[in-house]
């Protein structure tokens, strides 16, 4: 996973609440067995008019946002389906950071697994930034994970919270499975204890799942 330390980039604006992962990447792109190449599916339905032609109003079709790497949006971003294809598609488009007043839990987790930093700012701060983005083509922000700050071109700094453990993993680009595997002894000890306490959770189900055809 790519580490996230500080990042400066153009901000794109998606002024909608409750953007669900079905919108971020619709179902037809979930048939893939790869994590790459999903850019084509990003906001697929919203990018197009009913006749299939590109909707020039939609933010991703606007020239000013083509090079954007930070997405600024509204409450409950990433709600619905757990599909990790959503952060994969955002990453494939070049987004490294999403700023919103709130996120859905699973999407928020999925971002950290993929080198994307989800930043929660207060609703009034997001509104203020939205005004700035609308008013300035090429508007950029600097996001500093170490300091937990978002800095605007006018020098105003917004602070955000992030769990120390998640922060450390993302900041250093750590493989979280590798981290967990370092605790192999603790996992084994847990399993030994639980096998005695709750033996019904430890049988080999495979002995009872033999094939049954229709």
């Amino acid at each position: 996973m790519q580490a996230f330390t500080t990042h400066t980039g153009i901000v794109a604006l998606l002024d909608r609440v409750n953007v669900d992962t079905d919108q971020i990447i619709p179902k037809q792109f979930l048939k893939t067995i790869k994590r790459t190449g999903l850019r084509e599916g990003l906001f697929f339905d919203w990018r197009r008019k009913p006749d299939g032609s590109p909707d020039p109003e939609f933010f991703l079709n606007q020239p000013r946002y083509q090079a954007a790497t930070i997405l600024l949006t509204r409450d409950n971003f990433g709600c619905g389906s757990s599909r990790e294809h959503a952060p994969w598609a955002l990453l494939d488009q070049g987004f490294r950071c999403v700023i919103a007043p709130s996120f859905a839990d699973i999407f928020y987790n999925n971002c950290f697994q993929n080198g994307i930093l989800p930043v929660v700012l207060k609703a009034d701060e997001v509104l203020r930034l939205m005004k700035s983005v609308t008013g300035t083509v090429g508007y950029q922000l600097t996001v500093d994970l170490g300091d937990q700050t978002v800095t605007a071109p006018d020098g105003v700094t917004y602070r955000f919270e992030v769990d120390p453990f998640r922060k450390d993993c993302l900041y250093r680009g750590l493989d979280s499975i590798g981290l967990t595997l370092q605790h192999e002894a603790a996992i084994s000890a847990y399993e030994q204890r639980r096998k005695r306490e709750t033996p019904w959770l430890y049988g080999d189900l495979r002995r009872r799942t033999g094939e049954t055809t229709r």
């Binding site: 669900d20 067995i33 339905d45 709600c79 499975i177 996992i187 639980r194």
Partner: protein, 467 residues
């Protein structure tokens, strides 16, 4: 340790270790696997040279991307076929149990887990699917995860988690005749909103929840995610134990008796505190119909479509305007004046045997409106088999419903079961997002009884005063 909630008890019994900031290495007892969110996890596992730690604790099934027509025919879409083959290959390579396409036990992952007795009280259960919350109906801690976390659980049987907050949703009283678990959960989401449960695990309590069957509890817990919650749960009781007894993968004999003793302890202590509590009266819950493009946009069938002009703030007003435009509805029109083109009875929310019994009872001796195409997709091959043994398929077919093979089908329309642009569907599924059932399609979430009545009348009706 003082008084604990049901959630606290399960969480604490699964802590392997805790980081200084409270991040917990949580042990996962069981994992369900399906074809859509697992291929990248298996691929990454292989690339890192890792093996599943406890393949015996996982169960896999293709469901999202399977056709619901004749299973003897090959899958037409080569990409869908490839995804299902990949699941089969991965399960073979790593020694994971799989109910394949032609296994009678195949079905929606959240239907087969409980049906097989794979889902057990007190267990931690995950799946790369947000509706994993369904399994909480058994007093399990069950939640959806992303593909990276699927890989994490395969490799380590653990997950790194921040402890969520707890929320009690208490529904007391007796629900109106012909109202159901679906109406309860839609009313809850309408009350707390699509993000009302974010960061929380919900425990559903109260006499109306206790009165629900296991199927009904699954319907309620299933849609916890639509309120933004990580998980939903109901404390196990005699119904839970009776449901599980004799299921193929449930413990047997003295092991079952030992388990029951432990399961009976799984309840919130009387003086335990939740971080938040919400209460509803069951009597006040009318049959629900969603009118918008977020599950929180829902109203009683006796209500009108809301008017954006009466909304308190700009954000809600613009979201409502947008939703009404997409849905092709007019502010202040009666919900019962909404005419529909399609009906879908199915999904992990409402495709269990009880749902099909209700559907068949309302369809019996009636006829689907000539303007409506209606389909029933059982939740599993075994549900289908049971329904056929009871003659439910016959009643539904006679009434003009299509009777299909098991799968997720038009809940997410990943297979060939799709709405056309502009088509309006009364659906027993869980998400009314734009395009969820097909680009440009319009979804109204309802209970099975409400879906059948709408199929027959061609528009929504108040099931309490119908027929």
């Amino acid at each position: 340790m003082g008084a604990s909630t049901l959630f606290d008890k399960i969480w604490e019994s699964h802590v392997v270790r805790t980081e200084p900031d409270g991040t917990t290495l949580l042990y996962i007892d069981r994992q369900l696997v399906h074809e859509v969110t697992s291929p990248q996890a298996f691929e990454a596992l292989k690339m890192a040279g890792r093996r599943p730690r406890r393949p015996a604790a996982a169960l896999a099934v293709p469901d999202h991307n399977v056709p619901t027509t004749d299973r003897k025919l090959p899958i037409v879409d080569p990409i869908s076929a490839k995804q299902i083959e990949t699941l089969e290959e991965n399960c073979r390579e790593f020694g994971i149990s799989l109910f394949g396409m032609n296994d009678v036990r195949q079905g929606i992952v959240h239907v087969i887990g409980p049906e097989q007795g794979f889902t057990l009280p007190g267990a931690t259960i995950v799946c790369g699917d947000s509706h994993t919350s369904t399994h909480g109906a058994f007093g399990a801690l069950a939640f959806g995860i992303g593909t990276s976390e699927v890989e994490h659980v395969l490799a380590t049987q653990c997950l790194l988690q921040k402890r969520p907050k707890t929320m009690e949703i208490r529904v007391d009283g007796v629900i109106s005749d012909r109202c159901s678990a679906k109406d309860i959960i839609l009313a809850i989401i309408g009350t707390i909103g699509a993000a009302g449960g974010t960061g929380h695990v919900i425990e559903y309590t109260g006499s109306a929840v206790r009165a629900l069957s296991m199927e009904g509890r699954m319907t309620v817990c299933n849609m916890s995610i639509e309120a933004g919650a990580r998980a939903g749960m109901v404390a196990p009781d005699e119904k839970t134990i009776a449901y599980l007894k004799g299921r193929p993968l449930a413990p047997t004999g003295t092991l079952f008796e030992q388990a029951v003793l432990a399961w009976q302890q799984l309840k919130t202590d009387s003086n335990a505190r939740y971080d938040a509590t919400v209460t509803l009266r069951a009597e006040e819950i009318a049959p629900q119909v969603s009118w918008g493009t977020s599950p929180g946009m829902v109203a009683g069938v006796d209500q009108k479509v809301p008017d954006p002009q009466t909304m308190p703030d700009e954000k809600t007003r613009s979201a409502t305007e947008r939703a009404l435009e997409y849905m092709g509805l007019t502010a202040n029109m009666l919900i019962t004046d909404i005419r529909i083109d399609r009906v879908f009875i199915g999904s992990c929310t409402n495709a269990r045997i009880e749902d099909l019994r209700v559907a068949a009872a309302f369809a019996k001796g009636r006829r689907v409106a000539t303007t409506v195409r209606a389909m029933v997709v059982p939740g599993s091959g075994l549900v289908k088999q049971q329904a056929e043994a009871e003659g439910l398929d016959h009643l539904l077919r006679e009434a003009g419903f299509e009777w299909r093979e098991a799968g997720c089908s038009m809940c997410l329309a990943m297979n060939a079961d799709v709405l056309k642009p502009g088509e309006r569907c009364a659906s027993t599924s869980n998400r009314n997002f734009e395009g969820r059932q097909g680009a440009g399609g319009r979804t109204h979430l309802v209970s099975p009884a409400m879906a059948v009545a709408a199929a027959i009348e061609g528009h929504f009706v108040d099931i309490r005063h119908w027929g």
